[in-house]
Subunit: 471 residues, 2 copies
Amino acid sequence: MAKAPVLTPQADDFPRWYQDVISKAELAENGPVRGTMVIRPYGYGLWERMQAELDARIKASGARNAYFPLFIPQSYMTKEAEHVEGFAPELAVVTHGGGKQLEEPAVVRPTSEMIINASFARWVQSYRDLPLLINQWANVVRWEMRPRVFLRTTEFLWQEGHTAHATYEEARDYAAHIHREVYADFMLNVLAIDVVPGVKSPSERFAGAINTRTLEGMMTDGKALQMGTSHELGQNFARAFDTRFLSREGSRDLVWQTSWGASTRMVGGLIMSHGDDNGLRVPPRLAAVQAVVLAIKDDPEVLETVRRIGAALTDAGVRVEVDDRTDTPFGRRAVDWELKGVPARIEVGPRDVAAGTAMLVRRIPGGKEPVAIDALPSLLPGLLEEDQALLLRQSRERREARTSDVRTVEEAAEAAKAGGWARLPWSEVGAEGEKRLAQDAVTVRCLTTEDGSVPEDAEAPGTVAVVGRSY
Amino acid sequence: MAKAPVLTPQADDFPRWYQDVISKAELAENGPVRGTMVIRPYGYGLWERMQAELDARIKASGARNAYFPLFIPQSYMTKEAEHVEGFAPELAVVTHGGGKQLEEPAVVRPTSEMIINASFARWVQSYRDLPLLINQWANVVRWEMRPRVFLRTTEFLWQEGHTAHATYEEARDYAAHIHREVYADFMLNVLAIDVVPGVKSPSERFAGAINTRTLEGMMTDGKALQMGTSHELGQNFARAFDTRFLSREGSRDLVWQTSWGASTRMVGGLIMSHGDDNGLRVPPRLAAVQAVVLAIKDDPEVLETVRRIGAALTDAGVRVEVDDRTDTPFGRRAVDWELKGVPARIEVGPRDVAAGTAMLVRRIPGGKEPVAIDALPSLLPGLLEEDQALLLRQSRERREARTSDVRTVEEAAEAAKAGGWARLPWSEVGAEGEKRLAQDAVTVRCLTTEDGSVPEDAEAPGTVAVVGRSY
């Protein structure tokens, strides 16, 4: 009789599979206040590595980290009309502090444009202060009616960049730079997700932005996940806060701004891009643990060998963990590491020690074979790079196979309902077409071009709409 | 006529000097909601380096990072009697979310014992799950009536560790390990603050703890700052949440717990420990910028030289910044770097280039002298280590010079009012003595022993009370 699967198979019930992985791989769990989540150490480890990779790219782009308050005076939120309209329904409000009712309630930040700009208006005096390039790592709160761990949570973690520039062109180019060199580079080369870069249609833009760049990933079920966005804010917030600078010519001009963010939602994207019926598959460049060396039995030679392999792999630059918890059955530990998606499992028992070999189990392509222990340090780094490339290739092939070129909005809706994406000229869609698609819970994920490059904005000629269902 | 000083001199008005440094060195500013702060990039850079150094020590101690929700159901806060009594007056309460009044208000975490233990009660099943060693980096909120940037703010950033153990002894030893190997090691060897390790008197313990270890630093004005604490929680929270484990013997026992935290308050401690009338002095091991290479004039050879020096110092392992912003007057930039406390300033003008020398200005011992440019990479790392040692020595000498051994509570109160610390047998003080000291706003900072070692707790025989005024 076949054993019951640890996870609900993806084909049976994808949302249930997703919840199962999150629970069984010990990634996260629901918090007691509706919509909040506890990120468990293994899940947080994925986020920490995402932070490190993104932070290095953000710093290389010239931005510096800072920290702005969690609480925003309620009155600030109303300063920019579109922004408040977009966020008002999602706000959490603090009405009492220190045992007293507050004179003015404070909003828990849903994003920080409204508090960062209060500082920017003071910090920016002259053209010498520009560009002002700031990033912050923070928690934000948006009250969620239908929460889903990592994908839509009332509180989530993210980075939000906020910049001010002297000209429209400079702001636009910086938003494009972040989109390409920070987000796309990270998602393709570290997360191994074949994201599609594009701009949002006007109706899908960030509240208060004049243009929003996005990266859309296709999940295993054919739905889209917005993985990171980069906004041109024009002078909307500068006007609201009167953020002006003395130009070289002596005039007092409003600054041009950008903001851009990526969040713990990417952890959800990682799970749904690479996971299979046995659990997670973590791309080696992201993995905090790239290889685990397992002692099968509590045997002195076995324990000595796993530690020696661990040390040799560390020396070879592999991020390795030695699992010598032999008071837990080996089979249970092996399933656990498989669930957690560690790319390489190196299993060592007494017979392996005698033969000078270990069993190498590769999570990403699958399969196991005995390997000479001495060969592991020279072999493994190359295999991990192969695994990294394979994940990206699989992500690309899935997206290509499940994206169809269509001619009409009706055909696009059908393709999306069937579990894929459709591409058609944006001129065929427009605001009217978006309304039609919405009836089937389908949206324009982004606007791109025939050759896959990113159009300047939604008005650029020859743009192509990528259409699908989304998380 | 002498120029007006950039900062209020310490001797004139120490609190004003502190505010001046924070503003002029661009460390932080007040946020719009009372008691909140904006941490500016230079101030946040100090915090980032503190995080990196502490995080490495925390991980080396076996703890793993995780993340727990910002919002705690109000009912949770009442589960542990002493804890709720301690924190109730400081809570911020969210009553509305998503446009509706909440059925149960949510408290913004003032610390996370109450939410972490809800998870621990699920995660801990058997002795195999112990010890459970968790840390989180987060913001917390405690409503402040008399806020002061970095020292007492309504919202602050910190790390909080939370652990569960099978025995009292194991929990006690882990709390002591964190106190010694994480906090004391970091504060002495990175922050260069000669902190005094000890335990808190019963009245000064964390709300809900059975023992609190602390590290107290003496600031330039002779007042004390509590720099980090490590608590034994006994089984108080385990009882509140019924956190039990199946022991090896088959019984279901309550776990023993610890919690420990250090916060952005350390930035305040850094400023007040090492700052002088010219600004900050940042210990080289902490400094994100250990050396700045300044171009005095916009001259091609000068610019080429500062970049070359920058590259050579980077190769020598020095964290360096090249300041070639020659459109800002040199004098203003020099004052700015001095305010920011960068340990080494290397100034290069056309005459220096011709002579093959640069002016080396050392912030920590003070003084300037010309140095051969080619000698800088071999010279500077050693000088920075000298600076690091000098700061710690100055901190120690100040503490020793301003600590007096006294015999009575009255003498202790006098010494503290005169701007120093007093040491006397704890048996002379006790709860009654603490009440007497409180009349002069003086407190027992910690209990230590004659030889400076840390007593087990307040009841240990032969303990010595260290008494002073504090922030």
